[in-house]
Amino acid sequence: MKDHFHTPLRQTPFHPRTSALNRLNQWGAWAGYTTALAFDDEAMEYTAIRNGASLYDLCPMVKYRITGPDAAAYLNRLTIRNAAKLSVGGVHYTVWCDDAGKVLDDGTLFRHGAEDFMLCCQERHLPWLLDSATGYEVQVREVTEEVAALSLQGPCSAAVLQAAGFDMCNLRPFRMAKLGFEGVEITISRTGFTGDLGYEIWATPAQALPLWDALMRAGAPWGIRPIGTSALNLARIEAGFIITNMDFIPADQAVREDRARSPFELSLDWMIDWEKGHFTGRRALLAEKARGSSWALVGLDIEGNVSAEGSLIYHNRKTEVGHVTAAAWSPATKRNIALAQVRRPHHTGDTLWVEVYALRELQYHKLMLRAHVTERPFFAPARRRATPPGAF
């Protein structure tokens, strides 16, 4: 343990496989791990997500296990959504805030038992989670390294699971099932970050390689491919999902005070349960509800086909009112889409323009493009919800 300075970035339990397959040798750091950005062809990897089946190494996602008689009550204090309403075997997306009602992180909450939850998120929060636990009969443990997780996504992902011997036909979205794999229990949840049909598989590090091999073997007829973060990022933009530290700064990391955002300002206020009793940030959020918020997070549909990454947004081409946090030409919708933070009230009208610097052969073209606020998700195929899922 003392020699870890030799390897500042850790390898996930799937590294022996992912490194063998990474023909492009494109790696990036994610939460302290070396992860593949692309394996051999980003466009084909993206296509696997939307056409067949794709496999993504999820291990770096930070995970906390929350157990004890007060676990649900504790999570109700911590998060804005009602954790008590989440039934055993269920999963929900959630958010937690600081006292000022600013978002600390978002994540997915898995209810494994009446008194047993797992919280998955992007950033690290142990001191906050422990401080919030005072007075509750609950244990909070950071378990990131104890779980090996894969995301199997794509219209054929149910078929791949079936072929691998996991029958998930009756598993509805945001539900999970436990089953055996080589004599040890694994969990499969119908969740994902692609907005498509897909599953996440939660195993132990010891099961990692056999699990990978089994899925790759079973998925071969459907052209299963390992995918890197670049392909996934395109899919998640189409799905309209946000990422901490890409689309917003967590309140406890924001050096500049004006960078923190509330659930209203990230358009996540639909999750707030005002009736469940007190939760951290409630008073501030009530006040904000009465007063109004400063920002909104919106989806944009931008004219033309030049992607608007990092662009500034103007009202009537003049007044700066926001910025793009993620953008792409969307292959699935054939639209030029973006996620953006926009100052209210400009998020509703139809006055927005984005200033794009498009690099073409070492020179920038400066473009002022019309942007329309539009519904998220940008891409929402019926197959993502169908139960039982179709064959493709």
Binding site: K2, H4, G32, A100, R124, P127, L130, Q253
Partner: protein, 537 residues
Amino acid sequence: MIYDAVIIGAGHNGLVTGAYLARAGMKVCIVEKNDWIGGAAVSRELYPGFTYSNCSYVSSLFRPEIMRDLELPKHGLQILPYEGGAVLTRDGGYLAMFRDHDANRREFARHSPRDAEAYDRYSRDILRHCRFIRPLLMRTPPDPSSFRPRDLSELAFLGRQMFDLSETRIYEMIRFWTMSISDYLDEYFENPVIKAYLAVSAIIGTALGPMSPGSAYVLLHHYMGDVDGNVGAWGFARGGMGSISRALGASFAAAGGEIRAGKGVERILVAGGQAKGVVLEGGDEVLGHRVISNMDVKRTFLKHVDEAQLPAGFVKKVRNFKTRGSSGKLNIALDAAPRFTALPDGAPMYRGDLHFTDSIERMERAYDDWKSGRFSRDPFQDVMIPTMIDPTMTPPGKHFMSCFVQYAPPRIAGAEWTDADRDAFGQTCINQIETYAPGFKDLILHMEVRTPRELEAEVGLTEGNIFQGELTFDQLLFNRPVPGYAQYRSPIKDLWMCGSSTHPGGGVMGAPGRNAAAEVLREARLGSDMSDAYAVL
């Protein structure tokens, strides 16, 4: 010959002031008592082939605006960032700090999983305090009792800085400026070793213990600098800290400035309430239209100005200015690299700062000795081996080790330090190192041991205070050095101050010298190529 300005002392601040004035067209002479320049930013070869950083040893505070304005890179200045460090613990283990965020988190997690995840919020909060203070460094503090337009606008600037903060931030800031580092760290961390490592910057050069109120600010003073934009980072000056002064000296000379080294100022000439020049030891006079002192405020006014020329109230305030020394220094020439039992071979920690004080409690006990007028029996040491990175300071394979030590009182139980006291102090320090690096003592080729007595004798730092005056809240901003005289002027017309006794204080920062030059030039109505502080985005 009457110079436009005579500067007393070729410390780095005197050199900065001189260089700016000379570049603005003034005829400037710097008189320095030592045969060399640099004051506490000095590198001397005390053992053949070995360059030391005899006093200051690391750089972060030195303002990049000054480096650029005075073209110091052209005159040879190079700052090398260094990597992290470690506290070696008494049980044979260690806690390391790494520049890599994730390696660092995992290292902290070995000691406390909770603290590992607390570090980001801590860094954010410290950075927030830095962002508040940084814009103030290169501005003349306002006189809060004056109604001159410039004072009002500077006060308004200060007010705006405050006003921009949220209510919570104002509370946090006022708490931070008055708290002890121990209490402050308790709000974030639980592990004693982690806290001991982080508390260090709050006691360096300070006659406070980690449990003394006000020590948290001192930490900020050490975090508000940067190495090439990396706020809070520290680095080595290539060739030793003296190369900063050498580059400044060359820049000054290139602008036509003169340095007279080797004879100290005996007395500042005052006639008709106005400074006229200086009289050197031996009687030579150097005349100037203005005199600017780089010496600390006590030395300047209590030793070199006829008190009868000064208002009694001012003299009293100067007397009461706190300059209690707290630090000593060992400079060691080593025959080979030392090996610390706890550290893996080749570990990057060797290229950073090494400490042996593994709890705040122990640091506070070291301070208890200082209070009783003794040097610490179990001292805190900041040990660095710059030659792990800098190839220019020793022959290959040999090393220079710099040990900054706390606590060493200005006087031993009320009496002057003796040579025997100094030697005992030195032995205590090297014995401590030897426990963590057996065989270390056998590598010593030469050693320079400096207590507050030696620092005062050589650099002129009253009571050996390394910052030319303590960095406590009562002695900062418009109260530095004394209320009413924070604008680099003195009660005597044409007698100015430019050393670390003035705002924003000590450290190899250059800001006092630069601000003093700005005031002198403003009063002389001379334009200059001086940059404003870089904007904080």
